[in-house]
């Protein structure tokens, strides 16, 4: 075991160790415990003693075992080769671990996150004598067919710099020297592809930018009703079986981000296998390339060590920030942040800290805030713009949204997609409740949306939300006195809302056509439903019975348009609208004559 000895184990209590005889160990320093080489991190220092949380099963550690310091914080390796890979919570590549220890994860095994031997074709974009600074791009590497990896000067290099040496275009490993830069004070720094960044520290940026562009997900209920901005934050809470993971998968598959970081934090092993099995075969509708070419996976399943689960979301967001710094739009899915909070609770309990609500530590809200605050649309140090959008699933115990993790999360996110158990039971997917959910980004993305929908979106959205609100009140009356007591004009509102739910809000993730809905198709679908409401209401005023209207063939066509009309043929909906107008007019004329 290499490294300096910083102390000895004094006590072992699950994943939390106490060490004594601590010399020069630093807070948050990465350490290796005993000759088993178990990875840990120093979380507390006190009078020659330290508390260490270990990222692997602690079985076999004894008092008196040595603790080896590494001299650095728990850091992520950032270099080409991250995309398409699958990692555990502390960025160990799972494929490599499988080669080392077989189908089950052994103990004390280490592997670097990216291949240090692999050659990448590097194309320089600056030359000797150029002025650069931290964050500047010095060249590019084609990481996957889809992602151009921009090699940057690490943010830790201060001052105005001059390139004093630059390699020619060619094949290099991630640790080869690519450039030598010198500060005005004469301090030189070697630049390579690989850089390290401590996972608990946000990567620096130049400035914040506006959140005016929506993250288009292709899910109608999200894009049309509760949009999320690029760089925004959203929470998806829902009890078990309400479809959090399905919603996360759908967004990860179809949203228009450049890079996806998907964190399976304390969730099921088979779900990650599903992603691994499915993503390489799914084709991105925008580029025609496999979705795996833009995805990084982190799988710290529920039976993997709890402290690595705590670290996993930081590992994930650090990688997201790295790609943001290159000028990409990154979306990060954390499934689920409740498991992460529970990991915090478990570790806090082991450290015998005073608990606050439901056993969670008092610093829970601070940690949640810190995490979500790492999202945003930023002006990068390199002078471009990039964003990190965070989509965090929350698993409230008993489906109760008032529990600490959900209620604190609500304070720090600006959009909320609440999942509803009764919708899920009726297999209404995505089970996003239109009554509980909200988005504070509506005004910010209004201009973008209106310019993509002939100024219809904002108005139409208002109209349908109003109808849905009216429906709630009418349903209450129906529950008391039955639907027959309502006049046709009000019954028709119920009818339109029910059509809107089946034809628009529901979306089948397994249907070739329905699973992704373009902005154009969404706009037209909403228009035709509102048109149906307008024309129908007029007809009813003329005395047409509602039953006749809902039996029109064209209404059936509208119900099934999400399956029958593809994104490319969205114009078909216009034809359907003409047909609707004609049908209702014919019907109306029958009653005019009487």
């Amino acid at each position: 075991m290499q490294g300096r000895i910083v102390g000895k184990v004094k006590r072992v209590n699950g994943p939390v160790l106490t060490a004594s005889g601590i010399t020069d160990a630093q807070m948050m320093e990465l350490v290796h415990v005993s000759d088993l080489g178990i990875v840990g991190e120093i979380v507390k220092l006190r009078e020659g003693e330290a508390t260490i949380q270990v990222y692997e099963d602690a079985t076999g550690i004894r008092p008196g075992d040595n603790i080896y310091g590494s001299g650095m914080s728990l850091s992520a390796e950032l270099a080409p080769g991250l995309i398409g890979n699958i990692y555990d919570g502390i960025q160990r590549p799972l494929e490599e671990l499988r080669k080392l220890s077989g189908d089950f994860i052994g103990k004390g095994i280490a592997a670097s996150a990216v291949d240090h031997e692999k050659l990448w074709h590097f194309v320089p974009s600056v030359s000797v004598g150029d002025r650069v600074h931290k964050g500047s791009v010095i060249g590019t590497v084609q990481e996957t067919e889809r992602v151009e990896h921009r090699v940057m000067i690490p943010p830790s290099v201060e001052g105005e710099l001059t390139v004093v040496n630059m390699v020619p275009e060619g094949d290099y490993t991630v640790t080869d020297q690519l450039a030598l830069v010198s500060s005005d004070a004469g301090k030189t720094t070697v630049v390579q592809m690989l850089q390290y960044w401590p996972i608990r520290v946000p990567r620096p940026v130049a400035d914040h930018a506006d959140l005016r562009t929506p993250l288009v997900t292709g899910l109608r209920v999200i894009d049309t009703l509760f949009p999320l901005s690029k760089g925004g934050t959203v929470a998806i809470p829902g009890g078990f079986g309400t479809g959090k993971t399905m919603t996360q998968h759908s967004v990860a598959q179809w949203c228009d981000a450049d890079i996806i970081v998907y964190i399976g934090c304390g969730e099921r092993g088979n779900e990650m296998t599903d992603v691994l099995r499915e993503f390489p075969h799914l084709i991105d509708p925008r580029t025609g390339l496999s979705l795996m070419q833009r995805t990084i996976l982190i799988a710290n399943t529920s039976n993997m060590p709890v402290s690595a689960r705590e670290a996993s979301i930081y590992t994930g967001i650090t990688m997201a920030e790295y790609y943001r710094d290159m000028g990409y739009n990154v979306a990060i899915m954390a499934d689920s942040t409740s498991r992460w909070a529970e990991a915090l609770r478990e570790l806090s309990g082991r450290m015998e800290e005073m608990p606050a609500e439901e056993g969670f530590p008092a610093y829970l809200p601070t940690r949640i805030a810190q995490f979500y605050e790492r999202a945003g649309h930023m002006k990068t140090l390199g002078g471009s713009e990039g964003s990190v959008s965070v989509i965090g699933a929350v698993s409230p115990p008993g489906g109760d949204f008032s529990e600490p993790v959900t209620s604190h999360t609500k304070r720090f996110v600006r959009a909320f997609w609440g999942l509803d158990r009764s919708l899920a039971s009726a297999r209404h997917y995505p089970a996003i409740s239109w009554l509980d959910s909200y988005s504070e980004y509506i005004d910010e993305v209004k201009d973008w949306w209106n310019s993509h929908s002939q100024d219809k979106w904002y108005q139409n959205r208002q109209k349908i939300m109003e109808l849905l609100q009216k429906e709630v009140r009418l349903q209450q009356i129906v529950k008391l006195v039955g639907p027959d007591a309502l006049p046709d004009s009000q019954n028709f509102i119920l009818e339109v809302c029910s059509l809107f739910k089946t034809a628009f809000l529901q979306q089948n993730a397994f249907d070739e056509i329905d699973r992704y809905c373009s902005i154009e198709k969404q706009t037209k679908m909403l228009s035709i439903i509102l048109r149906y409401y307008e024309l129908g209401s007029e007809a009813i005023q003329k005395g047409v019975p509602m039953v006749k209207i809902r039996r029109l063939q064209v209404v059936q066509d509208i119900t099934k348009m999400r399956f029958n009309i593809s994104n490319e043929n969205a114009d078909e909906i216009d034809k359907l609208e003409l047909k609707l107008e004609r049908s209702i007019m014919q019907l109306g004329s029958l009653y005019d004559e009487q």
Binding site: V12, T59, R62, D65, G241, G266, A299, G359, P397, G482
Partner: protein
Amino acid sequence: MMNSDALLKETDKALLSGREYAGASRIDGPLVYMRNTHPVGYNELVEIIAPDGSVRSGQVLDTSDDAVCVQCFEGTDGLNLPDTKMHFLGEPLTLGVSEKMLGRVMNGLGKSRDGAALPASEDERDVNGVPMNPTAREYPRDFIQTGISVIDGMMTLIQGQKLPIFSGNGMEHNQLAAQIVRQAKVRGGKSDFAIVFAAMGVKYDVAKYFIDSFEETGVLDNVAMFLSLADDPSLERTITPRTALTLAEHLAFDKGKQVLVIMTDMTNYCESLREISTQRGEIPSRKGYPGYLYSNLAEIYERSGKIQGQAGSITQLPILTMPNDDISHPIPDLTGYITEGQIVFDRDMHGRGIYPPINCLPSLSRLMKDGIGEGMTRSDHPHLSNQLFASYSHVQDVRNLASVIGEEELTELDHRYMEFGDFFEKNFVGQRFDEDRSIEETLDLGWKALSLLPAEELQRLTDEEIEEHYKG
């Protein structure tokens, strides 16, 4: 060949485990504390010698350079402070596994319960297991036909799945589990089945019921039973599912068998965990259960599934009784977050004499989507089950309405929904204890139920499917 370092370690271990320490400093419930030992490893196995000479086993829960805290699986009755002796064995709790354990009855620690000696073990394994690498998993998608319509049709069981039964006291979960064992088959292939049965804190009669039922079916030789009954020490229960799964892993991944693991009752397991946690003075979270209950349950449930390139699989069917039928209680709640769906029993349906009393609305099988349809069950299966869910969910609204305004006031359409609901519950969900329905029979029965509704209400089905099967 061992190198000299490893050899030195082995001799060290032999020497250290030979050391005997006498005199406990404190005994509290199942926990025994001892001072002034050599450095003892976390989770190490301990041999505890009681003053009367009986040997019990235990495990290190907390170790420091000052004192060691050991939990004693077989209870601390009869131990005293001065004469209690301990050996620290230098390795974690293991189970000697062998295929020949099938047909045998063992206690929660894997020791013989029927008096006869256990077969020689083929391998010694750490009962805590190690996490399976997610990249090594194979996504489960082989349909298991249980012959029970509501399960096969609405919440299909898949080989390698973990699907718990959320029941309540007094309902027929044991009968259902026994029926599944009797009828479960994988279609189109002969397979090498084995059953591992773990009983935690259940009464002797319940265990007897299962033994008799296995005997009647003639599968007893293929069943390994780990029994930790209600009068056994509560600590033993916390190990029982782990020993059972250790054997299951051996059978599945070394011997290529399709293993079905039945664990009853997980509620008792969690109660035992709470008991120990409280005794150790840990900070409780919800309802006094320890904060690590989720991780702890996950360590058990996640030991199921399939591995790429291997023939075997582990399918788990844990049974838990919901305290007060409350599905939001921490035990069913956390279980539901880990398992791939759940089968939920309903007191009301039980009261109406429907067997199995499964309420399909809160029930779910997450792996169903990839295991059904063309080539696996039948092409209309996905849409059909979706439609049944949607229609049955509407039935609940209609019933609520009927209870307010009276059944006579309902519209014609709503009457048909009521009729559909009754038929569905009585004839589709309800079936006899010895009735084994093929998947085709199940699906046809589903169509028969839907045929009670007007065709235009069936929006989740395609026109072709309605054309082919609808008989309204």
